[in-house]
């Protein structure tokens, strides 16, 4: 055996006095960490294969297992930390681009955690959502900015097409291919039952899921996978994906190994072929070009569907959003730099893009300053982790939030961040039939419904505390927010005062 440059990151700790040799751990681990040695009647672990997904831990019937971070450390320092050194070793060995999964894990500021919300005291009494009606429904789409009448003086009531949501949270784009059939089914069922939307991502819509079309956002990306007339007409809205928070400026790349018969049918590409979504849409070099794609989709759907344009939060996001709002798009979705992904180059994921909180505040202000805020609805994601984040986002100007990492966590994801391997032990980010069937869509959809229902209660509680009984009255209501530990510039961009002011 040659030099092993990188010592395994995790250790498998087995309490042998509890282990009953049932071998559940061995059967459950797609990474083949555990195996049974009959000769010595013992379970053996190869921790170098362990990704710490906690599958074995969760299923060990005697709680004999735990996975811990290895305390074998390189001689790191504040500059050359463990990860930096390990990454050098990996690249020196392979010559490859570092590929990671899920969202940016670096310790950048999380502005949600530096914003506090208000509550009513004495004046403007708070509202008890258990006793009084609270409105969390939202409709997304272009809103009229003035009242118009026809020649007979009657109100013109025709609105642009809208998406109706029972609460201001939707499931964000994750393609079939990057996640499993059962994961898509869980999301589709939960969205339909909740009265919100899920999003196909750029991998097309499986034939079995057309029945959930009324609660489905169908995505069109640069690769145009699975995009055809029936697909466009199936959805509640069409989303043009220009960018993704986890990898702004980078396209998608589903390796051919994951393009089996079913994914091939859904993406409408040959089996075994790489599915490459280039970084740019090669027909979009300007806002005018974007307008062309927006209107080609509107024409193809006879102006019945709102069109969403999704972009990553990057430096000039306010100007970009202003352009999109003038492109004819009905909804702008902005994805912050902490958004998740099935695979992204580590360097891009960890160092490109900006926090969604700042992007949202800047965009909302810019659109209001330009008098075009009503042209579009704003949806933000990347990453929204709780109902408190949702409420803060709405008070900063969002109409609704997108969640994806939170949704896959509800489905069983343990954030081991190795989606790119295709060996997800929880049946989410995999196409292996034996792994996919581990995710029971009945249970998965119920867990999503539970999560969203709980969030909706919490949103109502938070709103009630502020004395607000409608989500409409919360949107852009920055007086409800205060910063904590933020500098002048950050407060200025967020458009909020400091706590105590």
């Amino acid at each position: 055996m040659g030099i092993q440059w990188n010592y395994p990151e995790f250790e498998v700790v087995r309490n042998d006095s509890r282990c009953i040799r049932c071998q559940v751990c061995a059967r459950q681990c797609a990474n083949e960490v555990h195996r049974y040695e009959a000769e010595i009647d013992a379970m053996i672990s190869d921790e170098s294969r362990c990704v710490n997904c906690q599958r074995c831990v969760s299923l060990c019937p005697t709680r004999a297992l735990k996975i811990v971070k290895s305390d074998c450390r390189l001689r790191e320092n504040a500059n050359w930390n463990q990860d930096a050194i390990r990454e050098i070793y990996k690249q020196a060995e392979s010559g490859g681009v570092l590929l990671s999964s899920m969202g940016n894990p670096k310790p950048y500021p999380v502005y949600w955690d530096k914003i506090l919300m208000n509550a009513s005291q004495v004046t403007n009494p708070s509202i008890d959502p258990l006793r009084e009606p609270m409105e969390t429904r939202v409709s997304l789409g272009k809103k009229p900015s003035k009242v118009e009448r026809d020649e007979n003086g009657r109100l013109k009531c025709e609105l642009s097409p809208q998406i109706q949501l029972s609460m201001p949270v939707m499931f964000s784009a994750m393609s079939y291919g990057s996640i499993s059939y059962n994961a898509h089914l869980s999301l589709a069922r939960a969205a339909s039952e909740l009265g919100v939307c899920w999003n196909t991502g750029e991998g097309g819509l499986h034939q079995d899921f057309y029945q959930y079309g009324a609660h489905t956002i169908v995505q069109v990306a640069s690769g145009r996978f699975g995009v055809h007339k029936q697909y466009l007409e199936a959805g509640a809205a069409v989303e043009i994906k220009m960018g993704q928070g986890a990898k702004p400026g980078i396209g998608g790349h589903l390796p051919g190994a994951k393009v089996g018969p079913d994914v091939s049918r859904t993406r409408m590409i040959p089996e075994g072929s790489d599915a490459i979504s280039p970084a740019p849409h090669h027909d979009i070099y300007s806002i005018e070009d974007l307008r062309q794609l927006v209107y080609s989709l509107k024409e193809a759907t006879a102006y019945q569907k709102p069109v969403i344009v999704k972009v990553a939060a990057v430096h000039n996001i306010a100007a970009i959003a202003s352009g999109i709002a003038r492109s004819g798009a009905d909804i702008i979705a902005i994805d912050g730099f902490r958004g998740g992904t099935g695979a992204a180059p580590t360097r891009i994921r960890d160092s490109v893009g900006i926090p969604i909180e700042l992007a949202l505040a800047a965009v909302d202000r810019r659109l209001r300053d330009e008098g075009i805020r009503n042209n579009v609805s704003l949806v933000v994601g990347g990453s929204v982790r709780s109902s408190a984040d949702v409420v803060k986002a709405i008070a900063l100007g969002a109409d609704a939030c997108y969640i994806a990492t939170a949704a896959v966590l509800a489905l069983g994801c343990h954030l081991c961040r190795t989606c790119q391997s295709g060996k997800c032990n929880w049946g989410i980010a995999t196409q292996r039939p034996d792994l996919v069937k581990r995710l029971n869509p009945d249970i998965g959809s119920q867990r999503l419904i539970n999560l969203m229902t709980a969030w909706n209660h919490e949103i109502k509680e938070l709103m009630g505390g502020m004395g607000i009984n409608s989500i409409e009255a919360l949107r852009g209501n920055r007086l409800m927010l205060r910063g904590i530990g933020l500098n002048e510039k950050e407060l200025q961009i967020l458009g909020i005062s400091h706590a105590g002011e």
Binding site: G95, V97, I269, D274, E299
Partner: protein, 241 residues
């Protein structure tokens, strides 16, 4: 056959008028209206004049014939049907098309056939009578692109710079020895064999019949066939982190 005079109509009005008819349609005086035939399934649409960008986008079975030039993004994400252009076309023709056929009498612009795909029994075919601009067949994942270089004037190659970057499927037929064309590393360019030619005989016959070219002369010409070496050209580039 319904006749629509497109004079003074904007694209939304023209396309609404097209959608309102089930039968065949003739559009007269077309002047840059976009998205004509977007997603159309059953019509035959004949266009006199110059249609605007994204002609036949998401086309799903209809036949579109243009008696003139067309602009950018002809047949964007086309699924089925046929588009015949009796003139030149602009950039990104056949973007991500996965089925149907596009026949162009004259030249095509940049990024022709970008992202073309194929899928089960769907095999998109794009035949360009003249030359194409740069980036022909970029990211091509399937289908057949034929460039004939007819009426080529001067010494310019029939395909401009950087063809086939990122290609990982499909096949190109270029009526040239391509000696002066620089292909990327991951493709093979070789003279067409009789078996190769048999694959495109049907398309060439149809092209010649529709656009009045001499099939025998075209079929007897020397072609270069370009194919990618791998369906998975990028799998070596990453290391899990």
């Amino acid at each position: 056959m319904t006749c629509i005079d497109a004079s003074g109509m904007d694209y939304a009005a023209l396309n609404a008028a097209i959608r309102a008819h089930d039968g065949d349609i003739i559009i007269q005086n077309c002047m840059g209206q976009r998205f004509i035939g977007a997603g159309a399934q059953n019509h035959t649409i004949q266009i006199y004049g110059i249609p605007g960008n994204a002609l036949g986008a998401y086309l799903d079975g209809a036949t579109v014939e243009v008696f003139g030039n067309a602009q950018d993004a002809v047949g964007d994400t086309m699924n089925a049907g046929r588009i015949v252009i009796r003139g030149d076309i602009g950039d990104t023709a056949g973007y991500a098309m996965r089925g149907g056929r596009i026949y162009v009498h004259g030249n095509a612009g940049y990024r022709t056939g970008i992202h073309m795909k194929a899928y089960q029994d769907k095999l998109p075919v794009l035949v360009i009578g003249g030359r194409t601009g740069s980036f022909l067949g970029e990211y091509q994942a399937g289908g057949v692109i034929v460039v004939l270089g007819l009426d080529a004037v001067g010494e310019r190659p029939i395909v401009s710079n950087f063809p086939c970057n990122g290609i990982h499927g499909g096949k190109l037929f270029l009526r040239s020895d391509c000696a002066e064309i620089a292909f990327p590393e991951q493709v093979t360019a070789r003279p067409a064999t009789p078996e190769d030619m048999a694959e495109i005989e049907e398309y060439l016959r149809e092209f010649c019949a529709l656009l009045d070219f001499d099939f025998d002369m075209l079929y007897a010409s020397r072609y270069t066939v370009v194919t990618p070496d791998s369906q998975n050209p990028y799998q070596q580039m990453y290391v899990a982190n």
